[in-house]
């Protein structure tokens, strides 16, 4: 049986898009399989690892737990749409410099979570950074270099 598809219109990285996805698809499926927007990764598909994190109306959410139908008429932003964001660029540079990126699978989700933290708390303690990133699992770095990067970026941005 062919799975029934449904048309959805949403704003993706500032552009209106219309996309056909299987009825009840998650935003992660729509992004990766139907739109081939690949920065949001499928790790656990359970909301636990954070690799799929994207912005919905400016707030980080799990793409694997968000239905595409929920995004109808709303704005979705992925790492592809973050070029030109000063806070993000600073975080990215610190991630590279401190060795916070190894395989890179977790990196987009980490960056989106870190950016939200810096928006609400421009100079967080190391402990606050760790708690804020507790929903982003990294299998490579051991986290210390990621925390270094976020703290370094925070320091640079608050100067």
């Amino acid at each position: 049986m062919m799975a029934k598809k449904v048309l959805h219109s949403l704003t993706l990285n500032g552009e209106e898009v219309e996309v056909a996805s299987v009825a009840g698809a998650t935003l992660l499926e729509t992004l990766r399989e139907d739109l081939r927007v690949l920065s949001s990764k499928r790790g656990c598909n359970q909301g636990v690892c954070g690799a799929c994190t994207v912005l919905l109306d400016g707030k980080p959410v799990r793409a694997c737990l968000t239905l595409t139908a929920r995004c109808e008429g709303h704005a979705v932003q992925t790492m592809e749409g973050m070029n030109g964001d000063h806070v993000m660029a600073t975080l990215q540079r610190h991630m590279v410099e401190s060795g916070g990126v190894q395989c890179g699978f977790c990196t987009g989700g980490v960056l989106i979570s870190a950016r939200e933290l810096l928006e609400s708390d421009p100079s967080p303690s190391r402990e606050t950074v760790k708690t804020a990133l507790s929903g982003n699992i990294c299998r490579c770095t051991g986290y210390r270099t990621i925390v270094d990067a976020v703290c370094g970026a925070a320091e640079e941005l608050s100067q």
């Binding site: 799975a3 029934k4 449904v6 299987v22 009825a23 009840g24 998650t26 598909n45 359970q46 909301g47 954070g50 994190t53 707030k59 980080p60 959410v61 799990r62 694997c64 737990l65 968000t66 239905l67 139908a69 929920r70 109808e72 979570s113 939200e116 933290l117 760790k130 708690t131 804020a132 507790s134 929903g135």
Partner: protein, 281 residues
């Protein structure tokens, strides 16, 4: 494949649920979509409650009581300045659920409906003597949080009913707080404790989470403890009763035996935090 509906009124949502036997209400999706992704549930239809204005927002009634719409996200509850004094406990609990991203998604209605024994809202709501507003095929009704949990993952919610709001008595100026013991930040509780002092400071209300099918409250024990909060042997008698009433299980977050040992320590430590706060105030 799941068909998704976006009703705009409670009546429409209830009618859609009645119409499609395999339909389930969808709020934040933080639990339901994870379960569907794991093929633990396969709903034919999802009735999204996201576009129903009636289910949104936190408001105050004429008597000062607070109504939290079922679709209120955890981050909104965690930031709600109306939740002061005796209701601070609920605000604290909201801020300790999972992590920031999940708090942007999950809702109070969804969490209460899901009735996970280790969820953070249930003990906090029990400590606040919350009341649930429910809508279903037979109309609207209200239900005390104390009559809500019937067994492990079993609630008094009937087929086709949805939770529309959670109401709380007007806050009074007393200390209250929520403490959660978890393996790592962002995990579900191994055990938790929601506590508020009585308005005169002579007694307390306490609910323990993750140590039985629902929040553990011993209202008779609370009564017996009134006026004796500074008497260590009375407090110890009270915590022994709680331990006797608890019914924890062994799971990845801790053994039942460990949980039973946590209860008295949690209660005495949170109590001393609250009474010190009171003396400093």
């Amino acid at each position: 494949m799941t068909e998704v509906f976006n009703p705009e009124t409670v009546e429409e949502a209830v009618a859609l649920l009645a119409q499609h036997g395999e339909a389930m209400p969808l709020s934040g999706g933080a639990t339901l979509i994870a379960m569907r992704n794991a093929a633990l549930v396969e709903p034919s239809h999802l009735i999204s409650l996201d576009r129903i204005p009636d289910l949104r927002g936190i408001s105050r009634d004429d008597g000062g009581g607070i109504r939290i719409g079922a679709m209120t996200r955890h981050f909104e509850t965690a930031a709600c300045v109306e939740l002061t004094g005796s209701l601070q406990v609920l605000r604290r609990a909201a801020g300790m659920i999972a992590n920031r991203v999940v708090r942007n998604m999950g809702t109070m209605g969804g969490s209460v409906a899901n009735a996970d024994p280790a969820a953070d809202y249930l003990p906090a709501l029990s400590c606040c003597d919350a009341v649930l507003e429910i809508a279903g095929p037979d109309g609207r009704r209200t239900l005390s949080i104390h009559d809500y949990i019937e067994d492990w993952y079993e609630t008094a919610l009937e087929e086709g009913e949805i939770i529309t709001a959670i109401t709380l008595p007007a806050p009074v100026e007393v200390s209250s707080t929520y403490r959660k013991i978890a393996r790592v930040s962002g995990d579900y509780a191994t055990a938790s404790c929601a506590m508020a002092l009585d308005p005169d400071g002579q007694g307390l209300r306490v609910a323990i989470g993750a140590c039985g099918p629902g929040p553990l409250r011993d209202r008779a024990g609370e009564k017996a403890l009134r006026g004796k909060l500074d008497d260590p042997s009375a407090v110890s008698e009270f915590t022994s009763r709680l331990v006797a009433l608890a019914d924890p299980v062994d799971d990845v977050r801790g053994s039942a035996e460990y949980r039973l040992r946590l209860i008295p320590r949690l209660v005495t430590s949170v109590l001393s935090e609250l009474t010190t706060q009171k003396e400093m105030a």
